[in-house]
Amino acid sequence: MADTLLSASNIEVAYGAARNIKVLHGVDLTIAKGETLGIVGESGSGKTTLGRALLRLVDVTNGTVTFDGMDITRLGETAMRPLRRRMQMIFQDPMSSLNPRHSIRQILTGPLLLHGLATDRRDAERQASKVIERVGLPLTTLNRNPHELSGGQRQRVGIARAVVMRPDFVLADEVVSGLDVSTQAQVLSLIGELGREMGLAVAFISHDLSVIRAICDRVMVLQGGKIAEEGPCGSVFEAPRSDYTRALLDAIPLPDPMPGWLER
């Protein structure tokens, strides 16, 4: 693909002192500019590890990760730093991902000042105000600390922190699984809108196929550290080729009376 932003080829990740606990067994993926890729799997599928490997938060034991044409597999921390601005992450638990001792202002302006994206403190403040309004929060939120906000508001701050640096790629790791249904839809549409507005490439990790379908262009189903199936959402959901995908879809209880579903 011509406009591929991020790609991984044959990546393996192993943990443990002797690198003997393999979590990923050779996974390939590509994400184009402006595209949203869903990564779905159950616990132990390696989806979280895959996401963190893409951001170079865990070291890969084998394979390569390429970002915007650059091989970043073995880049050191200092060499990664300028790229960090362009690759951001939104976390599952907005409580533990926001430092309880920082105000929302500090959380948003710190990164801008670090990367020289703001000329001075006032400019950083102005940009933070803009982004906080964009994610639908009142300006006074800037003075709050994370524990003074509700779960949905915190997740909006988490999103604001990721987009304030105008990244090219965002990893969203189970970002709505801790939220109530009514808040979930708001956060999902916010991520969708921002993705389109900013032309973001998004890797959207979730265990929930319904959520994936609502927001992603393509989907990749992981099972035990391998790809079970991969393709455009339309074809994977309408005509799944893998038995595992079919089993996953069939296990989702839908809010319709479906007599006999439980016994199937």
Binding site: L55, L57, E77, M80, R81, P82, R84, R85, M87, Q88, M89, F91, Q92, D93, S96, S97, L98, N99, P100, R101, H102, S103, G110, P111, L114, H115, E125, S129, L139, T140, L142, N143, N145, H147, R161, M165
Partner: protein, 293 residues
């Protein structure tokens, strides 16, 4: 934007007010503050010279008891020295040791703990082994030995406390650092591109601080006791400087006809340690913004 600034300072003021709304901080901190004032203004507060002996006025009981002399509110010891004045001057040594020893032990211990907990690997291995070895020495014996080698004096007492108690800080801070390091906001800071050292200072240290502050306050109480013990066995400061431990040692010998010489410094010691402990506990609760503990 002006609104925002006003709200910000209001929040800060509110937090400051919270600090004193906590009864533990109020009473513990109040008592310590009083003690600091007492130590600082001792020459003006103490009614008598703490060293002035007058054998004619030996072992006078406190005011209100039969045989008491006016002006000697808490009585005198067997050498005729005013107990109240000695108590007031004794707080100087106690507080000096408490503040200096606890701060230095915290500084050394916390620094090593932060490094070990954050950088891990060989740094952690070295620090952890050092702590293990250190803790294998019996502390009381070690302190007596140290003071015996270093010679008596306030400096030696402080050095002994720091050398023995830095491990206490190191262990707690290391564990707390590791907990914080596993939190998502640390990962978030990495994705933003902060350097490891910046993350340690900006993200981790503020979250370790509440535990550290509580521990420092507890350590001050411990330091007061250790100083008293060393004074009691005659290994602290020169005998011409009044200390609570020294007074207790002296009072022990005349307990049958002069109970007050022992009782008042003991009460003082008890109240001071209690105040430090309460202050530490209260501070931890107030400072922690999440109150999650």
């Amino acid at each position: 934007m002006a609104d925002a600034v006003i709200i910000q300072t209001a929040a800060r003021r509110r937090r400051f007010a919270n600090l004193f709304a906590n009864p533990k901080v109020l009473f513990g901190g109040g008592f310590i503050l009083l003690l600091v004032l007492l130590a600082f203004f001792a020459p003006w507060i103490a009614p008598k010279d703490p060293l002035e002996q007058d054998l004619m006025l030996g072992t006078l009981p406190p005011a209100g008891f039969p045989g008491a002399e006016p002006g000697y509110y808490l009585g005198t010891d067997d050498l005729g020295r005013d107990v109240l004045s000695r108590l007031v001057y004794g707080s100087r040594v106690a507080l000096t040791v408490a503040f200096v020893a606890a701060s230095l032990a915290a500084l050394v211990g916390a620094m090593l703990g932060l490094l070990a907990g954050w950088y891990g690997g060989w740094v952690d291995a070295v620090v952890s082994r050092l702590v293990d070895i250190w803790m294998a020495f019996p502390p009381v014996l070690l302190s007596i030995l140290l003071v015996a080698i270093l010679g008596s004096g306030v400096h030696s007492v402080i050095a002994a406390i720091v050398i023995i108690d830095w491990t206490r800080f190191c262990r707690v801070v290391r564990a707390e650092t590791m907990t914080q390091a596993s939190m998502d906001y640390v990962t978030a800071a990495r994705t933003i591109g902060f350097s490891r050292f910046t993350i340690l200072m900006r993200e981790i240290l503020p979250n370790v601080a509440p535990v550290l502050i509580a521990l420092v306050s507890l350590e001050m109480g411990i330091a007061v006791i250790v100083e008293a013990i060393l004074s009691f066995v005659g290994l602290s400061v020169a005998s011409d400087i009044p200390t609570w431990g020294g007074m207790i040692a002296q009072g022990r010998q005349i307990i049958h006809h002069g109970w007050w010489v022992l009782t008042f410094p003991l009460l003082m010691l008890f109240a001071t340690v209690l105040a430090f402990n309460q202050l530490g506990d209260g501070l931890r609760r107030v400072i922690d913004p999440v109150m999650r503990r």
